[in-house]
């Protein structure tokens, strides 16, 4: 009897602890949601209830229709799609070769790629500026896509190679006997089997592009080319006291797609990240 009450008290304390922890975790976001729904002037008052007293959609209307939010969204999607295409094309072919064929230099190449990937990308900013200016790709999406794709390429190769390794080669041999050539075989047999790895890799690319603000604000010079990250960065760096409610609304709109995707694929995230284990 006594032991049961003790256990119950313990669980009550544990639940309290977790509720508090969740609250601490969510406070910054709840506060942003609150600000995004409140009208002008509210933000400066001492009021900090988590439910706005006078909810309005004005901030959302302004950000969607008076600011180029939708244009930035389109740019972000374009950049993501372009990066995915380039990174996956390069990544899949290389990963396939490294997984299926034992050729001299293979192990060394894979190792060197990992070492190269250790160079923090922020430090390449200046060199990228030089490359882009030299090739006339400054202020263009193509330049950024190249940079993003190049930086995701090593991750894509390692991640995809790991997955290709788990696909038994017998399946391919069977299709070889049926007379399929390499391209047909990869397209029709291997890629459908590797779908989970492809999806995870694509989503990592999407998240990277969606979150990247530094290169985007440095290399894109006009706001009509901005990605969402660059646009939001710009929004808060011009007089944030005035644009703070707008910024919260934009932040929430920009985060929702990622939150949805994240919780959809969460169970793959841990294994995918550590199995690849190359980024970072």
């Amino acid at each position: 009897m006594k032991r049961r009450t003790k256990e119950r008290l313990g669980y009550a304390a544990l639940n309290m602890g977790f509720l508090l922890l969740c609250l601490i975790t969510l406070v910054p976001i709840l506060y942003a949601v609150n600000v995004s729904f409140s009208g002008e002037g509210v933000t400066l008052s001492g009021d900090f209830s988590l439910i706005p007293s006078d909810p309005t959609l004005e901030n959302y209307r302004t950000i969607l229709f008076d600011e180029p939010f939708l244009l930035w969204l389109k740019n972000s999607l374009l950049l993501s799609a372009g990066t995915m295409a380039v990174a996956m094309l390069c990544g899949i072919t290389a990963a396939y070769a490294c997984s299926r064929w034992r050729f001299p230099g293979r192990r060394a190449m894979l190792r060197v790629l990992l070492v190269l990937n250790a160079f923090p990308q922020v430090l390449s900013l200046f060199a990228y500026y030089r490359i882009l200016r030299l090739s006339g790709l400054l202020n263009s999406h193509a330049g950024l896509i190249l940079i993003y794709a190049g930086s995701m390429c090593v991750f894509a190769i390692w991640n995809m190679k790991g997955y290709f390794d788990t696909i038994p080669i017998e399946i391919e041999e069977a299709s070889k006997i049926d007379g399929a050539n390499d391209a047909q075989m990869i397209w029709k047999i291997v890629l459908p089997l590797a779908k989970p790895a492809i999806i995870v890799t694509c989503i990592m690319v999407l998240i990277t592009v969606w979150n990247e603000y530094l290169f985007a604000t440095t290399f894109l010079l006009e706001s009509e080319y901005y990605s969402l990250a660059a646009g939001l960065y710009q929004l808060q760096s011009n007089d944030y006291t005035r644009s703070w409610p707008l910024f919260t609304a934009a932040s929430i709109l920009a985060s929702i797609p990622l939150l949805l995707i994240f919780f959809k694929i969460q169970k793959y995230m841990v294994s995918g990240l550590t199995a690849g284990g190359v980024k970072g």
Partner: protein, 293 residues
């Protein structure tokens, strides 16, 4: 024969060309610039000056590199220790057998991980730390205290950055440790209980050794990410036009500032190369110990 030899390399060629342009060239270029005196005064007419930049970074204390390196080490160690301890305790709590709301807690605790990093940082910068709009200061005023500028000086800015980094990074740690905990064989605990082992003995003798193989690689990965963390300190304290007064620098922000704020490209490149070497050595060492451990 030639075709069979060349085929794998043809498959790798697109990736290798891309990597050559986007990863190898910047490293080589940085290495070259690190040997020159390129800076504001020698913008076009820079010349090779040998290893002077390296000597300056390593041996002249006023270059600031050594103190930035110290800050970075402190930053990395503190973050990792707090993350591992808290991550472990929270994950243990989540695995209490009769916790009914486990799924709800887990989902809510993962939200910061899913948020785009720059958005989290910018929301914290204004929504939490700001003196006028920040929630922390609103609470302080409501409780009758003086306002605190959380980003104004090095000490407090460092603590603020750690708090934010924990907020952003703990979910990954919790989720990794939680996953590892669930794969432990329950019968180990039962026999330990029969032997009269208490909670902490069990945690120390069974739980920690069992989760080590899963948690160690994740912890190493997080250590590198923490070491290379740029966004938090940059966005919180040194955005162009919004320098907050803190002169806090980790090595990465130090490189960025030297290049783009003081246009000292030679020194900045030398430090970049030093960092690259440090990271490579460190990853070889950890790789070896992970394999043996």
């Amino acid at each position: 024969m030639f075709r069979r030899r060349a085929k794998p390399w043809c498959y790798c060629a697109p990736a290798l060309i891309l990597i050559l342009i986007i990863i190898v060239f910047p490293i080589a270029y940085t290495g070259y610039i690190s040997l020159t005196n390129m800076n504001l005064y020698h913008w076009q007419a820079y010349e090779v000056i040998g290893l002077d930049n390296y000597a300056r970074a390593l041996f002249k204390l006023d270059s600031g590199f050594m103190s930035a390196l110290g800050t970075t080490l402190l930053w990395t160690v503190l973050n990792m220790v707090i993350q591992l301890v808290f991550g472990f305790l929270i994950a243990l709590g989540l695995n209490a057998p009769k916790l009914k709301l486990r799924r709800l807690y887990k989902t809510l605790l993962m939200v910061p991980w899913a948020m785009p990093a720059y958005i989290s940082i910018l929301l914290w910068r204004v929504g939490m730390f700001n003196t006028e709009l920040g929630l922390l200061n609103k609470w302080l005023t409501a409780l009758g205290f003086e306002k605190i500028d959380f980003l104004a000086s090095n000490g407090i800015a460092f603590v603020s950055c750690i708090a934010l980094n924990l907020w952003m990074a703990l979910p990954f740690m919790i989720s990794t440790i939680d996953g590892a905990l669930q794969s432990i064989d329950r019968s180990l605990y039962e026999s330990a209980q029969l032997d009269g082992a208490g909670f902490w003995t069990q945690a120390w003798k069974i739980t920690i050794p069992s989760i080590r193989p899963v948690v160690a690689p994740a912890a190493v990965m997080t250590t590198f990410i923490t070491f290379k963390q740029f966004d938090i300190i940059y966005l919180l304290t040194q955005q162009r036009g919004y320098m907050t007064g803190a002169t806090l620098n980790t090595v990465i922000t130090y490189v960025h500032q030297n290049a783009f704020a003081s246009n000292n490209y030679g020194l900045s490149s030398a430090v970049s190369m030093l960092l690259f070497v440090i990271i490579i050595i460190f990853s070889f060492l950890t790789n070896r110990s992970l394999r043996e451990g």
